[in-house]
Amino acid sequence: MINHSNTISTSERSNNERQYAAIYASRRRHMVITFSLGLIILFYYIFFFYFNGLTPEQMFQGLDKLGQYFARMFIWRNVSQWPFGYYFTQIAVTLGIVFAGTFTATLLALPLSFLASRRVMNTFVLASISVVIRRLFDIMRGIDMAIWGMIFIRAVGMGPLAGVMAIFIQDTGLLGKLYAESHDAVDKRPSRGLSALGANHLQKHRFGIFTQSFPQFLALTLYQIESNTRSAAVLGFVGAGGIGLVYAENMRLWNWDVVMFITLVLVLLVMLMDKASELLRKKYIIGEDIPLFNQPTQHTEK
């Protein structure tokens, strides 16, 4: 449509030729990548199901059973005879486990996170300490909560305490790592400014780093409480207390309606916590308005 060829010089034309080649190559590469990615994924699933697969018979039977389970989830029978007190106590115990575990983890993870932070531990000896602590964090969070639960059952016996310890250990690892990352991500300048003022090490970290990483700290803790509420149910399956026990009992007894009920209650609970933490975040992370010092009055005083 637009003909400019007569105004284009030869060198420009050869440049353009190269550019065309690059464009076509890039489009070909895009096609090749798309197709090969698709094929790789397809083959992965084919192999996965081929090696682990079910016979069609098992498949149909299983789907049939699943259908029954789901159907039973929606037909609630004998609701008046359900031991609601027991259910809600167990939910409360789960919440107790979550709060106790996460708060305790926060208490330990915060000081440890400074020891793990590259920013704070900036000499050679300190840096090696921080590496050790980070590895420790990796181990703590690398093992699932339920496994920690089983291990703590050996140490402190069955019951919610093992659950608290499990959350405590896993969250110390997880929060410690995340806190340390947020300390490392803060702006450097305030710290420098403070050392120019003659602040000592601890003051520097308190005001230079923690003031800035505090919103992150709060957000991470709130998020972790919420996420633990959801995952703490697995603790009960291994005997570490809480609502998981109710799940396990009722699934064995085919009380799918109770399973549904408990899950709905948990959904509601998590939603409420989500709203609450949103409010908190708004208030403390985005920051409230502090009324400006009243300027007109200042003028009248003059």
Partner: protein, 256 residues
Amino acid sequence: MQPEKLLSIVNLDKSYGNHHPVIKKLSMDLYAGELVAIIGRSGAGKSTLLHMINGTISTTAGDIIAFPDSDTPQKTHLLKGKALRHWRSQCGMIFQDFCLVPRLDVITNVLLGRLSDTGTLRSLFKFFPKKDVERAIELLEWTGLINHALQRAENLSGGQSQRVAIARALMQTPRILLADEPVASLDPKNTHRVMEALQEISAQNIAVMVNLHSIEQVKQYCSRVVGIASGEIIYNGSPDGLTEDIQQRIYANPAS
């Protein structure tokens, strides 16, 4: 030969919600091959007019008729779904803030102009037909951006982005091109390039309608100018006829 009439706007009204009207009884025509400038104070309703033609803002009353002299005139403000999308593909739109897709490379951004004519499966996987790629290359060469073809759109300057947006609009092979303040954030050199490009496009028998804020640019590039004040046409004619007095009335304070 009389140039083809592409669009005719008849007694168009627009008010947002219950507020006072933004466009009042506006009537005008648009012919193939002209470059029409729309001028007016901020808030006069220029953007609103362009968006109503494109169909991204609904009208309150009146008609917008596409291809009124053809066998199949269309009231574009009544179109819905596929027909509306088809109309939009014939009526290119360029935004002041470009509205490119930042993470995609420039040539793909240009190719997006063909979306309405590309099969769903093809376009889902970004497999555009070869002739479209060729045309995109041609357009990029024309806009002088061939060297940036494989860069991400987020890395372009304002003038470059605007030229990509123009290439994308041309990729649709539109009959009408609407440009909402395409040069408002550009330096003089880029302004010149973009306005020149729009001029060239109008020479391809396409009607170009452009919102401008500078009388100089109107006089330098445009073949016709429409002055709007408080939603009404004050002036509609050659840029040469834009006297001081008329300018006064177009840019006058509506409150006074």
